[in-house]
């Protein structure tokens, strides 16, 4: 599709020489001067456009050429209008050039000229005058033969609204409100003037007005809407389409929303229905079949609104229009394109009803019948079942519908505060919500980065942590679920998909069902995680699973950063245990395990810094972890940090429960490991421990010894032995000479430090006030003060 030819075209356009360009300009001027415009003119203009748009550096056309191109905007040939507009949009306007040529002849402001004006409008004043001209054009309503003379007016106005709503004055708004009412509610209900010329017998008699039809073929019984069809359409029917297309935006811009809690509820409720109607699979099955002969009751039941001011009248008519659309959406359209349009209209109608109800709460009562018809009685009255749909059914059944996921997550973000306050299901449903992320991490990562903090509560934190750690497994499970539905049973074993077999086997059902659960609260995790990981081993290189695993570390960071603000010591302790336990219980995706360990280490440190007594509290588990030599090789990062926190915080100054016995048993455990890793080569398959592990162990031992002085001789002995052994040259447990030197140097430092126990104690176990310097707070030594003084001194010269 994209060829080498295209690439070289772009290159040529970018690298065109100035002289060649000038020649091209002059040739083009000559072509444009001719009376007739040929294919060559069109081609040359197209090339000019390519040259101008190929680079981001703007060019100015020579004035003569610029003028000629400008005049193309009022050419009778649309192709030339299009090209003129396109070329001028890519170039800078001539200085002082005012695009006011069209003030003389408003009806000549075609769509392409308007596009140019819009893109080059610099100030609100420019846009205001454009709007004024367009509205004047609407008022005079000249039809001069072209098919839809004024249909681009509304889109242009809508664009202006988006960027500068203040461009329309109060009068303009009133005028347009009236016009919109006319087009929306009072467009012709007969088909447009028949384009097909009759035969020999065409005469006034045979040209009877034919009414428009509904999408299922029946004759329309009520006012015209976008869901009505005909052979051809009248001008005001076209305007009906354009008006409805911009209606919601208009209402949002000019009808201010009043603040009030009562209306907020309704707004939320109705916004939900957006997600309901969005779901493709729910739309047709759940709705009742409507007989084609149902007469629309909308206009029959509405009250007269002639006495309302324009804005309110528009609101009322918008309301009626939407009610009619909702009725019309129930009809069985003959064409698929129309069926799709019905869904889109349904969504739009409900959103507009939302807008108008927020503005005028008395309309809520009148929406009741529609909402009841669409979603059933319960939904209209009570939020519960709607929330159940949103949090339970959608994510679990439609996790792979990316548009639904996108809208649902945006809805959650917009209403986060209300959800947290008033909808308990929200937080409990995180297993379901995370399914969306597990399926499509790259697309939804940003959304979850925003939402995750709101899902972290003290009650669910542990389960949430387990769930996050098992996201890759969830991802694999969803893939299996998806495949299971499409592959016949016999085929899978032939292709050797062990995981698929496991997924379908009853003995492992429980494992997968736990992952696929919809609500939190039934248990933090399962016992047989190991088994699950083995079953899913082959999923470790499935792209979806790998993408998911890349998103987990970031989420973990967010989780821990949030939990640290709400946890109490008990929760911290529990989380540390989870970290230690899960460090060996992760799906075996190489980078995933390393990254997760890194996150754990970082936050273990933070927790312990915040609550040093945690170390004494959890000393048993931490010691068990630190005493297992295998951990040095398989979980180096975490191991290092565990040893560090033990060395740092296992002291009486951190927690008075710290006994000499505890210090000694910790010492002995670490000593044993240190002996082991420095006396032999690493086990087969493992690499040499990083120097950091060894030095951390040594430092930890030294710190512990400084608190219980009878341990000092043992450390010193070890350190001197170490020095002796390493003098002999290389060792089996350290491959790099520089590393060895660093280790030995640290050993010597510690050894000399420990020669004076008192000094060792104050260095290795410093009292609190040394650890929390107040340099920036103490005005006498504050760095900013010093810097200011220095600056003043140097600048005064």
């Amino acid at each position: 599709m994209f060829s080498h030819g295209s690439e070289s075209l772009i290159k040529q356009a970018r690298e065109i020489q100035e002289s060649e360009l000038q020649k091209f300009y002059s040739r083009l001027v000559k072509l444009l001067q001719a009376k007739e415009h040929s294919h060559e003119t069109v081609d040359s203009l197209q090339r000019l456009h390519l040259i101008l748009s190929a680079t981001k550096y703007a060019r100015t056309l020579p004035p003569e050429l610029h003028k000629r191109v400008l005049s193309l905007l009022s050419s009778p040939s649309e192709q030339l209008q299009v090209l003129g507009s396109a070329v001028l949009r890519e170039t800078l306007p001539l200085s002082g050039q005012e695009l006011n040529y069209n003030q003389e002849n408003v009806s000549q402001l075609n769509s392409h000229a308007a596009a140019l004006l819009l893109s080059q409008a610099r100030s609100t004043a420019d846009l205001s005058s454009l709007c004024a001209q367009l509205l004047r054009g609407l008022e005079s309503r000249q039809s001069d033969g072209s098919a839809h003379p004024l249909t681009h007016t509304l889109p242009v106005l809508n664009t202006v609204l988006t960027h500068r709503p203040e461009c329309l004055t109060e009068d303009h708004v009133t005028l347009l409100s009236k016009k919109l009412v006319d087009w929306l509610r009072y467009a012709s209900i007969t088909q447009g003037g028949c384009a097909s010329s009759g035969g020999f017998f065409t005469g006034p008699r045979s040209r009877q007005p034919v009414p428009t039809a509904e999408l299922d073929g029946t004759v329309s019984g009520d006012f015209f809407t976008v869901l009505c069809v005909g052979q051809s359409f009248t001008d005001d029917q076209w305007m009906n389409v354009y008006s409805f297309s911009m209606l919601r935006h208009w209402l949002l811009t000019y009808h201010s929303v009043s603040n009030g809690n009562a209306t907020a509820d309704t707004a939320n409720r109705l916004q939900l229905s957006l997600s309901l109607s969005h779901s493709h699979s729910f739309s047709n099955d759940d709705r009742s079949e409507v007989d084609g002969s149902v007469v629309s009751m909308v206009s029959a039941t509405s009250s007269s609104s002639r006495l309302l001011p324009p804005k309110e009248r528009l609101r009322e008519k918008a309301f009626q229009y939407c009610q009619r659309l909702i009725e019309q959406s129930d009809r069985k359209a003959h064409k698929k394109a129309d069926a799709d349009l019905q869904k889109a209209c349904l969504v739009e109608a409900v959103c507009i009803l939302d807008c108008v109800c927020v503005e005028d709460a008395s309309l809520v009562f009148r929406t009741f019948p529609c909402i009841k018809a669409l979603f059933g009685e319960m939904a209209a009255v009570d939020c519960e079942c709607v929330w159940r749909l949103v949090f339970a059914r959608f994510p679990s059944e439609l996790f792979n519908d990316q548009f639904l996921a996108h809208e649902l997550l945006r809805f959650l973000q917009l209403n986060l505060e209300s959800l947290q306050l008033r909808v308990p299901q929200y937080i409990r449903s995180f297993p379901n919500l995370l399914k969306l992320l597990a399926w499509d991490s790259p697309a939804l990562m940003d959304d979850f980065v925003d939402l995750l903090p709101s899902l972290v509560t003290a009650g669910t934190a542990v389960e949430l942590l387990h769930t996050l750690l098992d996201l890759p497994c969830l991802s694999a499970t969803l893939v299996l679920q998806h495949r299971s539905a499409s592959l016949p049973i016999a085929e899978s074993s032939a292709r050797g998909l062990l995981s698929l077999d496991a997924f379908r086997s009853p003995s492992f059902r429980g494992l997968f069902l736990f992952l696929l659960r919809g609500e939190a609260g039934s248990g933090d995790t399962i016992d047989r995680l190991n088994t699950l990981h083995e079953l899913l081993a082959e999923a470790a290189d499935w792209p979806r699973v790998v993408q998911c695993s890349q998103s987990v570390p970031v989420l973990l960071h967010i989780f821990f950063n949030t939990v640290i603000t709400i946890a109490d010591e008990k929760l911290f302790a529990h989380l540390i245990l989870v970290m230690l336990e899960r460090s060996s219980l992760l799906l075996n995706i190489p980078k995933y395990i390393t990254e997760t360990h890194r996150v754990f280490s970082c936050h273990l440190l933070k927790f312990c810094k915040l609550h040093p007594s945690l170390v004494v509290d959890q000393s048993h588990e931490l010691l068990e972890f630190a005493g297992a030599t295998a951990n040095v090789y398989s979980k180096e990062e975490i191991y290092t940090h565990v040893v560090w926190v033990l060395g740092e915080y296992l002291s009486v100054s951190c927690d008075s429960r710290c006994s000499v016995k505890l210090i000694t048993s910790c010492f002995e455990a670490l000593e044993a490991v240190l002996f082991e890793i420095t006396s032999s080569a690493p086990p087969p398959g493992a690499v040499c421990p990083a120097p950091r592990v060894v030095t951390t162990l040594m430092s930890a031992l030294a710190k512990l010894a400084s608190r219980s002085h009878d341990l000092i001789p043992r450390v010193s002995l070890f350190l001197s032995k170490l020095r002796t052994v390493t003098r002999g040259g290389s060792v089996a447990w350290c491959s790099d000479e520089d590393d060895l030197v660093a280790i030995v140097t640290r050993g010597e430092e510690l050894w000399s430090l420990l020669k004076s126990p008192g000094v060792a104690q104050s260095v290795l176990t410093p009292p609190q006030h040394v650890m929390t310097p107040r340099w920036h707070r103490d005005t006498n030594v504050a760095t900013p003060l010093q810097l200011r003084a220095l600056t003043n001194l140097t600048q005064s010269q």
Binding site: S6, L9, Y57, A114, T162, V226, L227, V347, Q402, A443
Partner: protein, 197 residues
Amino acid sequence: MVRCFLIHTVCPLAALGPGDSRILYCRVFGPDEAERHRQLSPEEARALQKEKTAVVARQVRCSVSLSREASGRLLVEAVPGEEALALQEADSGVVRLRAGDPFTEETSALWLGVQSLGFTLVCEPHENLLLAEGTLRNLTRHCLEHLHMLGQGSEVLLRSNRIDALLSRLLPHGQLLFLNHRFAQSLEKEVAAYMAK
């Protein structure tokens, strides 16, 4: 309101870096919002706009390749004449573009990946995504057919006025339209008449 419509590459290109995308067609609707907040000269404003659309193209390119990787589907080359098939096989998705990255407000970029090209519609957050998706598919279908995009040609670059004309009917000034099949047919007839010139 649609902010812009882009046609850009979503396949690796020798001339560009790995994540980069070449924009073949770009149409931005409406006045430039950047100007409101800063006093930029027209040249700077234009350069900024080009850079913003380049950012969008890159983000979509990234999403397309990740999505294709995850779904594991093989790309089948369709030949001219198989436009409907190519469209049916196309990947689709939506990317959330955060406020400031690159547009001042948050936007959503809907995309359709047809083999080596991506068709992207950047919409405002409150836009009707169902309608936008339908419009995007329709636009893509017309582009594929009228510009013979399944072949080797470079018509996108040399016939961009056709896309402009198409947009002026189906997406006038960025306005999404609720068109039933009869309205659509009427507009498509006009488009076809234009293309025939």
